[in-house]
């Protein structure tokens, strides 16, 4: 079953055509990778999905809900979470608080004036947060301020924040950018593990190693248009991809 369907999406910034008639769909429960050279429009595409940008034309359907014109928080509330290229976390709050906030958002909705409840006694949310921190291996740092984490840990924290909402669709923008090989492998393992929960994922990635170890299907974007789509092994050998993405070099 298709969980996400994008049809004829165009987006221009002034004279620059960032997305050119993009058609794209994601099957439920799969991992789909989007690759492409710098400036191919990958992040623009992701931003159109989460409501940060509004496409000029075209439609984005999540199940049978149209995402066009929805606010970012509304899109999140129907089950789409995103991990950013540079981790977006609550830097001056503790790790626990960082995870309790999305967990509360999931349970209580976009706004609730629960000004007299005691968050320290909300065992449901606390347990959830502890569990998530355990999952990503950050539980012993739970009372630290998030800004004091290393970059790799910040990414894992952000991932845990998204996972605490049990999303139906998880969007990951270069989840391993700037990571060491060891950290990258840890992240791949982590992503594979959460794959078992049946969360559909769309991953933007530069690192071919990551793409080929995770993705069920790969979409190649170049100059705002999709130039190839298929199984990782097929994409690997596609001459058009090698031309656009690697400037003709062999993988």
């Amino acid at each position: 079953m298709e969980i996400l369907r994008v049809e004829g999406v165009n987006k221009s910034f002034g004279g620059l055509r960032a997305l050119n008639d993009v058609n794209f769909s994601v099957e439920e429960g799969t991992v789909q990778a989007i690759i492409g050279p710098n400036g191919a429009g990958k992040s623009t595409f992701l931003n159109c999905l989460i409501g940060r940008l509004v496409p000029d034309t075209g439609s984005v359907m999540f199940g049978d809900i149209s995402l066009t014109g929805m606010k970012p928080y509304e899109i999140n509330q129907i089950g789409i979470s995103r991990v950013f290229q540079t981790p977006e976390i609550f830097g001056d709050l503790t790790l626990m608080e960082n995870i309790m906030i999305p967990a509360l958002a999931k349970r209580d909705g976009e706004f609730k004036l629960h000004a007299f409840a005691d968050v320290g006694k909300d065992t449901e949310v606390r347990d959830k947060a502890l569990h998530m921190l355990e999952d990503v291996g950050l539980v012993e740092k739970k009372d630290m301020v998030a800004d004091s984490l290393s970059r790799g840990d910040k990414r894992r924290l952000e991932l845990a924040m998204c996972l605490s909402q049990d999303p139906k669709l998880l969007l990951l923008d270069e989840p391993t950018a700037g990571m060491s090989r060891a950290d990258t492998n840890n992240t791949i393992d982590l992503l594979k593990r959460i794959g078992d929960r049946g969360i559909t994922k769309v991953v933007i990635e530069h690192d071919m190693h990551v793409v080929f170890s995770l993705a069920d299907k790969v979409t190649v974007l170049a100059q705002g248009a999709i130039i190839a789509e298929g199984k990782p092994e097929d994409i690997k050998g596609d001459p058009r991809v090698q031309e656009a993405y690697l400037g003709g070099a062999h993988l």
């Binding site: 928080y73 709050l93 906030i101 999305p102 004036l113 629960h114 409840a117 630290m144 301020v145 290393s150």
Partner: protein, 401 residues
């Protein structure tokens, strides 16, 4: 206790103790002694400590938690004051309806101002709130004169209806009271050279402030409070986490506006008049200073900041050159002249200079305000008492990169 954790409960009782015993604590010097002018234990000033404490506690809910810096909160205090005086003119001299309606009107007005101003953040938000406050201030002097009585200020009169009370009592305006207890009533206790004053109005303020403080603690520890801190920390992430930050900031704005109205209502209860100067931008700036000076985002900091500023305003401004000469009477004439010359700019009308320097020193060396100083001293003692240094609650380790 009362749904507070152990640490908050002890803080609450500490504040309660200080507030109840303030008439003793603020009058440490015997009457008639040289130092008696440093005594702050007279009703008028003690009431102001608490009233501005409430104002600052409320402001801190907005500024300390969400980081939205409002430069127009005095407008809500002013609106509260006018509403309070009108209640006393129309209804009764009992202070409860006055205080209640102050909160209601300030809340409604802050809903309007907040709804418009919160469309922007950062400096633009500050400017919008400032514009609203200045507008209210100007209107109170001009168009709204029938309501505000313009420059004279809104006062009680002998022919006010007071439908639930009496218009006049023995040819005079009846006194503001709490179910028959006049606010001005004081009980004086003379012990040796000391004179302590226990004022009914002060203790009413104390009760109201303790309630306001309790509500603030609950808000700080609630999921709502956590969301407000999320606004300050990363609004972007908040929106992509499924949270609509607008109603959160608006709720915080209205709550802090209601605190300002409460402070305005109490001012009226203590002294039944209201003037437009309460809404001026300097008054809005003052509460910003109080909050930053005491420690924005801390529970008790803003109250300390309010006390500090009001103490400076009332005590330093009263010292003059003659008093200085009295102090330096034992010194040779030339040296005394010199000292007076040096100290002169910092006292009397120059008290703002003293305050300004203190403010700069605190902001530069203790960015977390007075509370950061208290915390540092506390940590120093902890380290001395137990050598094995336990990790603090929030270790700020350097990033591993």
């Amino acid at each position: 206790m009362f749904g507070l954790n152990k640490k908050d409960t002890s803080l609450f009782f500490l504040v309660l103790l200080l507030v109840v015993l303030a008439p003793f604590l603020l009058n440490p010097f015997p009457e008639g002694s040289e130092l008696a002018q440093f005594n702050a234990g007279y009703p008028d000033l003690m009431q102001r400590f608490l009233i501005f404490g409430i104002f600052a506690i409320g402001f801190n809910i907005l500024f300390g938690l969400t980081g939205y810096l409002s430069f127009g909160h005095a407008a809500f205090l002013g609106v509260g004051s006018y509403a309070g005086v009108w209640m006393m003119k129309l209804l009764t001299m009992n202070v409860i309806p006055a205080i209640f309606m102050s909160v209601v009107f300030a809340g409604l007005f802050s809903l309007l101002v907040g709804y418009i101003s919160l469309r922007r953040s950062g400096i633009y938000f500050s400017i919008l709130t400032l514009a609203f406050a200045q507008m209210s201030f100007s209107l109170a002097y001009s168009v709204l004169t029938p309501i505000t009585n313009g420059e004279t200020g809104l006062q009680l009169a002998l022919d006010d209806p007071r439908i639930l009370g009496v218009s006049s009592e023995n040819g005079a305006i009846p006194a503001a009271n709490f179910f028959g207890i006049p606010m001005r009533e004081s009980f004086e206790l003379s012990m040796g050279g000391w004179l302590f004053t226990f004022n009914a109005g002060y203790y009413l303020c104390a009760v109201v402030m303790m309630i306001a403080f309790y509500v603030a603690i609950r808000i700080f520890r609630s999921p709502f409070g956590m969301m407000l801190r999320a606004v300050k920390s990363n609004q972007q992430r908040m929106n992509f986490t499924g949270l609509n930050s607008r109603p959160y900031t608006l709720a915080a704005f209205v709550i802090s506006g209601m605190y300002a109205g409460l402070a305005g209502g109490l001012m009226v209860a203590m002294d039944p008049l209201a003037g437009a100067e309460r809404m001026q931008w300097t008054a809005s700036g003052e509460v910003v200073l109080m909050t930053i000076l005491g420690g924005a985002g801390t529970l008790i900091g803003p109250v300390l900041g309010a006390g500090f500023i009001k103490y400076c305003e009332n005590i330093f401004s009263k010292i003059n050159d003659n008093i200085l000469y009295d102090w330096f009477a034992a010194l040779p004439q030339g040296l005394a002249d010199f000292l007076v010359f040096v100290i002169h700019p910092f006292i009397g009308k120059g008290w703002h200079l003293t305050l300004g320097i203190m403010f700069m020193l605190i902001v530069i060396f203790l960015p977390g305000g007075i509370m950061e100083g208290v915390e540092r001293i506390g940590r120093l003692f902890k380290r001395k008492s137990s050598k094995d240094e336990n990790s603090t609650a929030r270790p700020k380790a350097a990033p591993a990169e």
